[in-house]
Amino acid sequence: MNAIEISSLKKTYETGDEALKGINLNIKKGSFFGLLGPNGAGKTTTIGILTGLVNKSSGEAKILGHNIIEDFKLARKSIGLSPQEINLDVFFSVRQILLFQAGYYGVPQKKAEDRVDTILKKLDLYHKRNETSRHLSGGMKRRIQIAKALVHDPPILILDEPTAGVDIELRHMLWDYLKELNEAGKTILLTTHYIEEAEKLCDEIAIINNGEIIKQGETKSIIKEVSLNTIEIEVEESDNLKLSDNFKYTTENKIIKIQTKEVNKEISTIIKEIEKTTTINNINIINSSLEDAFLKLTNK
């Protein structure tokens, strides 16, 4: 059984906007899954449907085998959501917000208190437990959002832009924590604008664009399949240099930029070809990234 199964999911808003055009997506248990896409691609709509914030138009979705409509209580109990927008209750202290949150998912009071305190300490918020959210910094609010998602110990975490607006130090701290949670067995579905974040954390990704999944698979495979590595070679003289048609390259200021999928296979051939004409001063290899793949697939 998959953690999340989505089939032929469609959403058309009242305005006529077709946010999802029948997407299919399977997320394995225990995976760290990234759902990437430009603004308005359908990421938040997908998450909204899974969590009950958005009504689907058609199609089906299951969380750990529980249908999100017919078995919505079991489906929702399996999920912890950290939404993109900060949405903290302004009336209560941080600790009280988390205790209520745990209670909404059926966690008994005593157990909830222990869990809340543990999470607050883990996220370095324990000293702020009696403050209301108005008195917290942006980074702290973001951490409380994540604490809210975790407080009922769900097997699946859905994190919509969990590190948006946080500083680098905190981002790295959250990355480490999320990795730790994933290693402990939690399935994580992440959406992010930081492609580096997805590349670093996600073992599998799906790229969504205009309401359609345009690519899904292992992160490394997608990078390898879609984008090209770049070999930069600085030469003594580039004016009369001509490489065979097998290579796609550009020359600028005595630097030849060659794009290839297989660096190891092709670099010796390239070097030989160049050395027939000129001397090589320096070689620099730039590995392709998920960002390249993302931009290529979304035509940005």
């Binding site: 709509t45 914030l53 009504n55 919505f72 927008e85 209560f92 909404y104 059926g106």
Partner: protein
Amino acid sequence: MNIEFLTFLRREVYRFMVLYKQTIVPALLSSLLYIIVFGETLGNKIPKEYFATSYMSFIVPGLAMMSVITQAYQNSASSIMQAKYLRFIEDILIAPLSGLQVSLGYIIGGSMRGLICGLSILIMCIIMPNTDFKVDNWLLTLLYLLTVSWTFSAFGVIIGVIAKSWDEIGSFSNFIFMPMTFLGGVFYSLEMLPGWAQKVSLFNPIYWMINGLRYATLSIEEISYITSLLICIGFSTIFTIIASYLFKKGYKIKS
């Protein structure tokens, strides 16, 4: 009842209890001022034959009901509006709670506030010096306070869900409930009105509610208290069904 629902209910009650200076105290204070100003000053000038009790006691049930209506409506409508505005309603919408449970959480929360305010006003008037106010039938009194509170709390839920702005919530309170309450016999007996106005008053449900409570407390029965009770139960049932349906469908709160 499960932990999920009870937690939500606790949150709703805790919210107005934490804010008691905004939610409970002003209601008591304004009722006290009405009683002192209207009861003491106006009461002495109104002929005694209109009422079976002192004028000050006569107006207490109406004032209690006025407070119950306002507080119950305001509680659920503003709680939902705040949650929508600051988006923490999403915590409730994604929780494993049914539409009925969510609506009942808000309704009972509002009802509790209305009930506490109404009861506090009645108790305050009993212990106040120089008044002959009393409660003849506590059980019926509680039943009236609860059903009226429930009715307006449920109505507040409906408006809270539908309303796009605070203005819309305030408009119902200022332009509908306030005139209906004042024209519902808080300060006068139906006999004091001309014939046509008496007939019109009978179409005002708040008139029935006030007179029901007046019967329960002072045993003054201008109209059938049974009919009055049935009206309260009928409205509370209808509004609860509508509120629950709105949450089930996510009307105006889900995309």
